[in-house]
């Protein structure tokens, strides 16, 4: 049987085009014009010194040439540095995640009274406002060179990230479970333990794994400014023009990040 033709099919050849993203043509073309002007201005005024770039390229080639083949001769130094980085990352994750739970509760609008909510949000904003490198510089100045500065830095960094996402998760929980716990006569903390936390546990574990992963990476960076770990070893290798060793460190970091990413992905998939 052929398709049934209805009256609606008779009128054909009508044109349809996707409506433009920005409806007003003045704004639409105006924005394009502004973007083009800005790009032209930026490229014409920024001091790109092509001569220096061409001088630098062979130098870069020499560095990379010196890095081959990577040297694992000083494996013990590499190992010590990495071990310290891992200790920093692990402790910072533990403390950061632990502290982020109460702060997340404080910063969730549906379970915290307004003044507490504002305080919680302020804590999160403060711990998020600076890049870990800047925080590390401050902590190195405050508590001296070494892993303690790294741990404090990454703890703060973890709080900012985990508490923020956890607070958002708490704000989206199924309120019915909380109501049920209120109706049995449970007080505030019992409601948190039974009505709220079970709902955010999978998210919390996922965030912790991700944060461990992220702290491992960041611990290499904050080491560069003196906060302990493999970053310091890397900085020293560069300082001594020992590019082969530096390259070995970089390979090691890449390998560890790959492993930890695979592991945290596996854990997050398992937990639901």
């Amino acid at each position: 049987m052929t398709g049934v033709r209805t009256a609606a099919d008779a009128q054909s050849g009508r044109v349809w085009k996707k409506p433009p993203f920005i409806a007003n043509p003045w704004i639409r073309y105006g924005l394009i014009a502004i973007a083009m002007t800005y790009l032209y201005w930026a490229f014409s005024t920024l001091p790109f010194n092509w001569e220096r770039v061409s001088e630098g390229l062979p130098r870069a080639a020499r560095i990379f040439g010196g890095a081959f083949p990577p040297s694992f001769e000083r494996g013990d130094l590499l190992w010590t540095g990495f071990k310290e980085s891992f200790q920093i990352a692990f402790l910072a994750t533990l403390m950061g995640v632990g502290l982020s739970v109460p702060i997340a509760v404080m910063a969730a609008k549906n379970v915290a009274p307004l003044p507490v909510y504002l305080l919680g949000r302020a804590l999160i904003v403060i711990s998020r406002s600076f890049h870990p490198v800047i925080v590390a510089i401050l902590f190195v100045a405050a508590v001296g060179f070494g892993p303690l500065a790294g741990i404090l830095t990454l703890t703060l960094y973890s709080i900012g990230f985990v508490a923020k996402l956890l607070a958002e998760e708490i704000e989206e929980i199924d309120w019915g479970q909380v109501e049920a716990m209120r109706s049995v006569g449970a007080g505030y903390f019992k409601i948190l333990i039974y009505g709220v936390f079970p709902q955010i546990v999978p998210r919390q574990i996922g965030l912790s794994m991700y944060q461990l992963d992220s702290n491992l990476r960041a611990s290499a960076v904050v080491g560069i400014v003196g906060a302990g770990g493999i970053g310091g070893t890397l900085m020293n290798a560069f300082g001594r023009y020992d590019y082969a060793f530096a390259f070995a460190i970089l390979l090691m970091i890449i390998g560890i990040i790959l492993v930890s990413e695979g592991f945290s992905g596996w854990v997050r998939k398992k937990v639901w």
Partner: protein, 267 residues
Amino acid sequence: MLEITSLVKRYGNNDPVLEDLDLTVDGSSVVAIVGASGAGKSTLLRCINRLVEPTSGSIRLNGHELVDLRGSALRHSRRRIGMVFQGFNLIDRLTVMENVLSGRLGYVSLFQALTRRFPQTDIDRAFNLMERVGIAHYADKRADQLSGGERQRVAVVRALMQEPQILLADEPTASLDPKTSQQIMSLLQSLASEMSLPVLINIHNVTQARMYTDRIVGMRHGQMIFDGAPKDFNQDALDAVYGGIESPEEDSDEPGKQASQTQEASA
């Protein structure tokens, strides 16, 4: 005995959801509250355990005034009021047993609640009640692995764990299939008589209300407009409660119209 007198609930400056409502529930009777959506049934139940704050009026349970309670006094009286919800409201990621024991949260210490070390009497009571409703073999299963009817049984047991003096059920069968919802209704009915427990049930299904309850209260626009035995809840009362519902012929007309349109189009 539950005595509600001149209860008013108003959200903001809108028209009141409950207007000067009086209701007394005695002994172990099962009372159905029927009414269209928005008639105030749910608000009425939630005023009783103060999930919703009444604007004015008085609610007394066995002589104790509930409306002006605060803090721990409020929590103590909530322990005596069991509630069953339309969406079950179980803690999905906890086991059935933990859900059942959570009915005791008003009685145990924070430490006991955190470590799940509930008193032996509570555990015995939990097993007995779960056996009574036929879910004891699920004790260690996660609550979200159960079917709808089983989940509502868990919720009923959780409410009974409170040793309540009254049971509130807010459309307990609305998320269930017809057969299961009958089972839950008859369960509520028999539990009420076994434990001589007054039960208030919000329900949309008038047939079930007639079948399983001792008394029907009809609500419309926040006021009680019918109160009587199920046998007296006739067509007039139904019309009064649900308001000008169109006759069913208009509905059956629709498919016929569509059919003739299709014929015209294909011709």
